[in-house]
Amino acid sequence: MAKQIEQLDRVIIRFAGDSGDGMQLTGDRFTQETASFGNDLSTLPNFPAEIRAPAGTLPGVSSFQLHFADHDIMTPGDAPDVLVAMNPAALKANLGDLPRGATIIVNTDEFTKRSLAKVGYAVDPLTDGTLDAFKVSAVGLTSMTVAALADSDISKKDAQRAKNMFALGLLSWMYNRPTEGTTSFLKSKFASKPDILAANLTAFQAGWNFGETTEDFAVSYEIKPARLPAGTYRNITGNLATAYGLIAGSQQSGLPLFLGSYPITPASDILHELSRHKRFGVRTFQAEDEIAGVGAALGAAFGGSLGVTTTSGPGMVLKQEAVGLAVMTELPLVIIDVQRAGPSTGMPTKTEQTDLLMALFGRNGESPLPVVAPSSPADCFDAALEATRLAVKYRTPVVVLSDGYLANGSEPWRLPQVSELPVIEPGFATEPNGAGGEFLPYLRDEETLARPWAVPGTAGLEHRIGGIEKHSETGDISYTPDNHDLMVRTRQAKVDAIARDIPELEVSDPTGDAKVLVLGWGGTYGSITAGVRRVRRAGGRVAQAHLRHLNPFPANLGEVLRSYDRVVVPEINLGQLSLLLRGRFLVDVIGYNKVRGLPFKAEELADVLQEVVDRD
């Protein structure tokens, strides 16, 4: 029977199951298939911090949402068109997010009395009318997988575990996804376990075949490739892009990369990735704690390496003392903070933008340093590279504020030409710079105010640095009042002057007469842009700008802020950028703040912006 194929311009699918059901893998494979097909896409993994939370419970639900389209899209999508629910907990935890008319594919095998009771369903929601507003496909995913593997030698338990591949096969059929990538992925993943490989391939194929033959699924869907700018693309997560950006920084500067790090969610993947790239001269050091991670990185920087440390909020707090030493010793250091929900342990796997003020002010004394923030998963590459450039050129620690959403989310990335990446000149000191032939470790470059970087092994430039206040030229210990005042102001001036070396803030204002500006920073770029598009489609006039540099700000920021009647600043915190803008520019911005551990939805931002636009 030839089935009908329906054209769609975009779809949002959410895979949901137990944290042991392999939902992240399933979502990731579907994403790779979709990427290689050429759709634009954006993903949102959402999982508990517990590795295997109790099976079948609401806290144990892990999900992966994917938005893909035949056009340029900005977010993982507000509400799923399709929910794949592997058990009652997954259904219950996600049902509230579904719009009326959404498709739900449920694994009926898991809808047992016991599983239902575990999440508080007194009556089976598949039969009591709860799902009347939805298109429900009830499929025995587990039993069909086991049946498909009846001839296999593997245990029943292993057979059941392959049900996620059955689901992936079914969805791959529904959306006409290419399957070669998944086949070769499985072959490589299970190369040493032929039985498990065969089972997974069989389950995947059985899911596809089921879609093609059963009458339950009368229609399959096609979403044409997106018309993206010409180039070679790959799909990439924020953490992977960060790791690549750091390697690029090392290659472009010729400085060997030394990473000192301590495992922490959601930053560990950067450590994992960098530890695989020793061919690039990358040395990774898994330290005894966060402090030793940054300390070792700073020690390596003193020796002439590109010193890097990676962490998340709770680790960032611990590193601040050593970051202060980097400010004082004026050594290059890149600090990646993948922000997560706080305070304290907070919600380790959930996103937030709450470390901005800590990055800027979380150290004792006047301790200025540049702060940059990526705006999308792929943009983490450019942000890490830019941080490296600033750190090396200005001999300063630089903080990169990524976040949990960017870190684990993914999108297509147009590969840059390596020949077009900036070249970073380390400019090590090799000769004495004093009038009398002596070496003055704090005698600055007149333009950048950077001090010389003289590494051990360089004869004649032996010097001592440290955390005690230094004389402005000799670097000797100095407690004199005027010298301290000069040094505090000079360290500030050096960072402030970087404003001359970064692009001015660009404003998107298609009609040129908007009275409202929305200004964001970091990981909210996609949601804000999607919200702005909605407002504009409805005829609203709104200008948009997004900050990459949080310190120093772009030179024209004050001017931009003052050109609009109203400025809206959405942040996933309680108003940290708003506080800075008000204090710095005396502009009473309108904050929009939510801290739910999730990205903003495009629709909510559109509503907020529309309301402000309508105030005229």
Binding site: Q251, R279, R283, L298, A322, L415, P456
Partner: protein, 357 residues
């Protein structure tokens, strides 16, 4: 050829711990290692003696001055780098071993020395110290133990005796102290030694043995603080009593304490100090710093109870195992030898890609 305190034979100027450091063409003198900075310790501080011994020892390393780096934390002892004309980092409290680890692991051509104290190294920085020792990073840790907080003006430290009356313990401290040598041995240190500030010859020989050790070496230096803990080591300084209390360990030699006493095996794997006449010379243990099993060195470290009755000085333990920096650099070299240097464009394009025209 000379024999070091730790029993290693080495050519003058060729120390195993400096295998990857370039040799110097310059014949350095002590004055070459003095910086132009005024030394600012209190009069009578034991640190002066250690500094002088260290400055006069450095020429023995036979490496260029620019390849020596001193790293310290916070405290009186941590001012050390300022007074030497080498490269130096006066860092933050307790973190020197971590900073030195990053430096040594990324620069095997440097001779890296950590200078710390009982507060810096055992209290706020205890975690970094034990992990640097177990990793066996090629650094030399000199822990100046004066059993008091000096720079903060006289609070009890992790090595102060229990019950000590200080500004922060007016009716006596409640803390049981660390034995730094026992701690280092428990942390899997491959080289552990002890010496005293007032015995320049012994101090120098221990420094040399430490430099000769590839990997992390830990040296406890008893150091007098004349202001806040004067005479803490007096039982070891009075010339008459000293020789009866100091157990000078030399590899291959019997363990003797003064003219009459010596060390023999005791019950439960421990060691005992006995009159030699009562057991005979043959029962004395010949010191073996190279024993793989740290139990013997640990038993030696426990001889110092009750305090100062018999205090072993010299090298407790000196065993060879791969250093962290060697292994780390080997992994990088192996990866490059096997698959060639990394190529950035190829890395970025790894995985599934597609082309849009």
């Amino acid at each position: 050829m000379t024999e070091n305190l730790n029993g290693n034979l080495s050519h003058e100027g060729e120390l195993a711990g400096l295998r990857l450091v370039p040799k110097s063409d310059t014949e350095y003198k002590m004055k070459d290692f003095k910086s132009d900075q005024e030394v600012r310790w209190c009069p009578g501080c034991g640190d002066y003696a250690i500094l002088a011994a260290f400055q006069s020892f450095l020429p023995q390393l036979g490496v260029p001055r620019e390849n020596i780096v001193m790293v310290s934390g916070i405290g009186c002892s941590s001012r050390f780098p300022y007074y030497l004309s080498t490269y130096g980092v006066h860092s933050i409290h307790g973190r020197a071993p971590a900073i030195a680890t990053g430096l040594a692991a990324s620069r095997p051509d440097l001779s890296v020395w950590v200078v710390t104290g009982d507060g810096d190294g055992l209290s706020i920085g205890g975690n970094h110290l034990i992990h640097a020792l177990r990793r066996n990073v090629n650094i030399n840790v000199l822990l100046f133990n004066n059993r008091i907080y000096g720079l903060t003006k006289g609070q009890y430290s992790p090595t102060s005796e229990a019950g000590k009356i200080t500004k922060s313990s007016p009716v006596g401290s409640l803390d049981h102290p660390f034995n730094p040598v026992s701690l280092a041995l428990g942390a899997e240190a491959s080289f552990v030694a002890r010496t005293v500030d007032s015995d320049r010859k012994h101090l120098t020989s221990v420094l040399r043995a430490a430099a000769d050790h590839p990997g992390a070496s830990f040296v406890e230096i008893y150091q007098n603080c004349p202001i806040f803990n004067d005479d803490a080591f007096e039982p070891l300084k009075d010339p008459a009593a000293r020789d009866l209390r100091l157990l000078r360990m030399e590899h291959g030699e019997p363990l003797r304490l003064g003219p009459d006493r010596g060390v023999v095996s005791g019950e439960f794997g421990g060691l005992e100090v006995v009159d030699v006449d009562s057991v005979g010379e043959d029962r004395l243990i010949r010191h073996d710093a190279h024993r793989e099993d740290p139990g013997y060195a640990f038993a030696l470290s426990r001889l110092d109870y009750p305090a100062f009755e018999h205090v072993p000085i010299g090298v407790f333990r000196d065993v060879r195992r791969p250093t962290y920096d060697d292994l780390l650099n080997e992994q990088v070299e192996d990866a490059r030898a096997e698959r060639g240097d990394g190529e950035l464009a190829a890395l970025l394009a790894s995985g599934d890609t597609w082309t849009v025209d």
